[in-house]
Symmetry: C2
Subunit: 206 residues, 2 copies
DNA sequence: ACCTGAACACCGTTCAAGT
DNA sequence: ACCTGAACACCGTTCAAGT
């Protein structure tokens, strides 16, 4: 038995029975072992979920400055692959994307900001832009996960999940393109001075 | 004792102790009653959460066709007030927005589509547009909720939560404005024919 | 080092019973 | 109609013990 096997068992359980089917006891049972054996390889359930997050976060195309295609295409590829991977795991996606190790890591944030700075966004706008793109795909995965297992969810005509993501990603790109060169006054008119031009005092989430 | 008091107790518990502090037993304790008394007014925990959702969903500005201000301003007001209300309830927001009664109701969906049709979007684009706006704010509330109670979350300089939402809502509006008059080929280039121009065969989520 | 067994403090919920 | 009490089938987790 190893930590890798524990993580694999957890992932299998999620695919088979969904997020609520993942318990320390079910992991142990799938491995033919006593519940407490799992605790030898994993500190607690949060730790197990962190490891599951790490495992799948290697499966999508990272966000990196484009080589000729422009930032739009690079962002499109990244967001699309992220969605494709995470939507495969039903409720897991909406859960995992809230895990620090998968979403808002300092590495992920720095990388995202660097990407948008390379695309011509100033430092403040690069932060806002990355947060916006990340937030959208987060929302999309959550909404998809929720619609997936609810029969009462109203179905819209003629559109598949993929159409929604595609439209959404294009809207994200179009929105960012429009705001990149806009003056703060154009998008922060009702909160003048909220975004200082140089240095600043307060801290906020990403 | 009444159903209203049960719902009020549940809401208070969430504000005081967060989502994990809400249990059937803690609701009962707050009401000075035995755990099973709660079950007289509420079918089960899901039912209680549905009622909590309903209670708070009346607190924000509904999405309705603008009277002179244009669809942009109407959408801005709706999304902003939704965020302000839901972000007050920490983890509740990210949970509640997944509740059918709060988010993707057939009424909410129809209303949203009608709003965007009145704003000059065709039927298919109105569905996509509503889904996009709803999905973004869903994501924003989830991300905010998550960042709220995690000390390790990296803090970006000089930006407050409000700045992110404001930028995001403007990006949503700018994106929708750009795609409203675009041809499908411009935003669905890699999946030609995915969105039929007239009638359609398959059904998908919103 | 690796795993087991018993136990604790929690859940949501059912069921029968009280008033 | 409204509430209680005891109980069931679950959780995550600790702690002491085995090999």
């Amino acid at each position: 038995l190893s930590q890798d096997e524990v993580v694999t068992a957890a992932l299998g359980l999620i695919l088979d029975r969904g997020m609520s089917g993942l318990t320390m006891r079910s992991v142990a049972q799938r491995l033919g072992v006593t519940p407490m054996a799992v605790y030898y390889y994993v500190r607690d359930k949060d730790d197990l979920l962190r490891l599951v997050s790490q495992r799948i976060s290697t499966s999508w195309i990272p966000l990196r400055p484009a080589e000729g295609g422009g930032w739009e295409e690079a962002l499109r590829l990244h967001l699309t692959s992220m969605w494709e991977v995470l939507s495969r795991y039903q409720g897991l996606g909406s859960f995992l994307i809230e895990q620090p190790s998968l979403g808002v890591t300092s590495h992920t944030v720095r990388n995202g900001i660097a990407f948008f700075e390379a695309a011509g966004f100033d430092r403040v706008k690069a932060q806002l832009a990355w947060s916006f793109a990340y937030t959208y795909i987060h929302g999309r995965i959550s909404v998809d996960a929720h619609l997936g297992h609810r029969a009462e969810a109203p179905r819209l005509e003629g559109l598949r999940a993929h159409d929604y993501v595609e439209f959404g990603i294009e809207a994200v790109i179009a929105g960012l393109r429009a705001l990149r060169d806009a003056e703060p006054a154009e998008w922060a008119s009702r909160a003048a001075g909220a975004v200082p031009s140089s240095r600043s005092e307060s801290a906020g989430g990403g």
